[in-house]
Symmetry: C2
Subunit: 215 residues, 2 copies
Amino acid sequence: MKLEPEAAVHAPETQRAGRARATSAGELSHIALDLFFEHGFDETTVTDIARAAGIGRRTVFRYFPSKNDLAWGEFETMLESMRSHLATLPEDMPLQAALRDAIIEFNRFPDDELHYHRERMRLLLNVPSLAAHSTLKYAAWREVVAEYVALRRHERPTDLVPRASAWICLGVCLSAYEQWLAADDADLLELIDRAFATTDGFGSAAAAESRAQRP
Amino acid sequence: MKLEPEAAVHAPETQRAGRARATSAGELSHIALDLFFEHGFDETTVTDIARAAGIGRRTVFRYFPSKNDLAWGEFETMLESMRSHLATLPEDMPLQAALRDAIIEFNRFPDDELHYHRERMRLLLNVPSLAAHSTLKYAAWREVVAEYVALRRHERPTDLVPRASAWICLGVCLSAYEQWLAADDADLLELIDRAFATTDGFGSAAAAESRAQRP
DNA sequence: CGCACCATGGCACCCGATGTCAATATAATC
DNA sequence: GATTATATTGACATCGGGTGCCATGGTGCG
């Protein structure tokens, strides 16, 4: 599983002065993940990873800001492609349909990467320190959703509805992921679809009722 | 703001052999929060907190498993009361209305604690390390919701709909909290109500559409 | 009193994370 | 090919959160 060098760096950086990198973020992340799978996340120290990659411990932190980020790999890149995918959707597409489409696309992986992706997600959702760290990643993901909802509704991304929509989308995704990890023959995309349907009627009755009760 | 000794300990523990506790979890949490408010979370070391409380650093970790948990205080106790509140709701109450009711109750605070609660939430939502740690607390909260939804739907708490519902409820709450913190004259409970309404129609169209497309 | 019991806190230690700095390697330019 | 600009690299050193260990100190009871 060879990755393009500099795959994680945002600037393509065709020709640059100075010493060439000894490794790439993608490569380093894979080395770390293999160790995590084999020995467990907490049992693997950054020193172990550095040794396995043949670089210095300090250098690991130059590629990834923290040990946690190693497990997340190139999430930022994926976020960016979701953002641009949303931008291509037609204005007249219903908002919910657009979100569903973008989220399904975000979670579509080639067959040969599915197993790897599954194991990675198993770590991210089950290892406490990783699950904790994930909040920050999810916030970035929600921001993408909120920005789109705000655009479509002519509001600010910080307004209530964009924010709440983003949270709901995240919840839909993660509950689908949880089911996916529990049943190894499940289809992730179909689960996301079903989770989306859960929001049906949710809140409307309660909110209407409440508005009637409190003048 | 004096707290009962052992307020955080589940067993009431009337008379116990052995040395008496030097402080209580509630008291310690308040001391820590005051320091966090004044100097910032990251700038406050556990040693500072221990010194302010007049106890040893090691002892702090005996009351709270981590520095993060100090900021959360007695969340588990609040969870427990939400669980028992849900248990008192009539079976024939619509599920969404029941959830809305329990969540509103969970977030009702006496006026004199509102300011304190606000500052605490501001920390929890904005300090990165606390926001990260919150995932684990939210998971426990969602578990309470999922258990109730499962009970009402005769499913398991790990099934898709209970899990997704719990996520949606959490999202509703947190987006309301965010608005509340941004506008200091806002009414938290009303914001939660409005956020609940956001779920209206969410997903239903998209999901139906999708089911039609994929045989 | 003496005993069992439990909280305390000092100490050493691990590990993740960060700043500094000198050595080194390479690309572009002359 | 030599020079220079630019980055990488890793060896320190340091800090703070978290943990195991164990002696010590306070409490109630027989």
